[in-house]
């Protein structure tokens, strides 16, 4: 079995233990695999809570560099719970970013000279033209609710207020519209 395939078969905790065991010798393949898995989770957390792609990218660097440092130094006591540690660090860092006590410059100062930026997988991108053609097939209400909702990631009650509808009604229209768009885009079952 090729080495990368073998690494892909390991659980997050097993990868974390390998990184911790290597310590200063650095198991770069295990580190790359762990970052490949965790970077999208951190980025999504950042997008959800900060609503800013650059801030989410900064969060990925900050959190994963800190995680690798802790693992190598043996300061992460339970490597098997690495995902929980990463989530906790995300929460703490986002709070600092919101308070304004987090500075991008600090990230560059701390890690910039190490030539050790995390290589995060490129985010998934949908073809805007194909999506627009699918949006055209929706009824007017459904289309407006989708546009109002996702242009600025607005909750149902805010969209409802703008349209003079009930929040429940907006959620029903939204759910139906997303179902139709998934069908049009060829997304099935619980794929996405």
């Amino acid at each position: 079995m090729p080495r990368q395939t073998a690494l892909a078969a390991l659980a997050d905790g097993e990868l974390a233990r390998r990184i911790a065991a290597a310590g200063a010798r650095v198991d770069s393949e295990a580190e790359s695999e762990l970052c490949r898995r965790l970077a999208p989770r951190v980025r999504l957390y950042g997008l959800r809570h900060l609503r800013d792609a650059q801030a989410a990218a900064d969060l990925v660097q900050q959190v994963l560099l800190m995680t690798l440092e802790r693992l190598r130094d043996g300061r992460l006591r339970e490597p098997d719970r690495v995902a929980s540690f990463v989530l906790g660090t995300c929460r703490m860092t986002v709070l600092e970013m919101r308070r304004g006590s987090w500075r991008r410059e600090s990230l560059l100062e701390a890690y910039g000279e190490r030539d050790e930026a995390i290589e995060a997988p490129e985010p998934l991108v949908l073809d805007a033209g194909r999506l627009a053609r699918c949006l055209e097939q929706l009824g007017q209400r459904e289309r407006s609710v989708v546009v109002l909702t996702f242009f600025d990631d607005k909750p149902g009650d805010a969209v409802a207020k703008e349209l003079g509808l009930s929040a429940g009604n907006v959620r029903v229209i939204r759910h139906r519209a997303i179902g139709r768009l998934r069908e049009c885009l060829g997304i099935e079952g619980d794929e996405g």
Binding site: P123, G139, V147, E191
Partner: protein, 190 residues
């Protein structure tokens, strides 16, 4: 890569839009952080969200929007032309290559209206090339206007034409026109 307890799509959407209470959100995040399958599904939702945004910003989507959304688009730096013909009136309009969007502001007495249709008739050199009726458009009766956004990318390819928009209130089998607005479009000189 599978999950024994995959999250419902509706729950993921509610999470993404910040609709869940903190007591539900926290364990959901724990699950996603430990689950590659649900991470992939959330990634697909995030891609869908940014795809809608990209399609709107590229002027690929025709839709009825609201005033708060229009303000948010301006805040995000979109270049938008607005035209507000009076009821029964005509306005000269255009779209330039650098414009992202054109908005038609249709002021109308909407109080008491429960269903609203929008009929669009497009004429080129006096010949009707499009006559379509958009049924049950969304509107806020209190807003007193409907904001109609055509596809900017399609409009940029159109020759000179007149677009007549008619708002029709529908009450059971009864219909009542509550406003007609004409947009005399001329292509922008390049």
């Amino acid at each position: 890569m599978s999950c024994a307890r995959p999250l419902e799509l509706e729950t993921l959407v509610a999470y993404w839009l910040g609709e869940l209470p903190a007591a539900v959100e926290a364990p959901l995040e724990e699950h996603v952080f430990g689950c590659a399958h649900c991470t992939r599904r959330l990634e697909a939702l995030a891609a869908f969200s940014s795809g809608v945004r990209a399609a709107v910003k590229a002027g690929l989507v025709a839709a009825v929007i609201t005033s708060p959304l229009l303000e948010e688009m301006k805040r995000q730096g979109m270049r938008i032309r607005e035209y507000a013909p009076s009821r029964g009136g005509t306005v000269a309009c255009t779209i330039a290559a650098e414009d992202d969007l054109v908005v038609g502001r249709l002021a109308a007495p909407l109080a008491g209206v429960t269903r609203l249709d929008l009929r669009q008739i497009v004429e080129i050199d006096g010949r009707v090339v499009l006559d379509e009726r958009l049924e049950d458009i969304p509107f806020d009766p209190a807003a007193g206007e409907v904001l109609s956004v055509p596809s900017a990318s399609a409009l940029k390819k159109m020759p000179a034409h007149v677009a007549r928009l008619r708002l029709i209130a529908v009450e059971g089998a009864l219909e009542r026109e509550i406003g007609e607005y004409a947009f005399a479009h001329a292509p922008s000189p390049q």
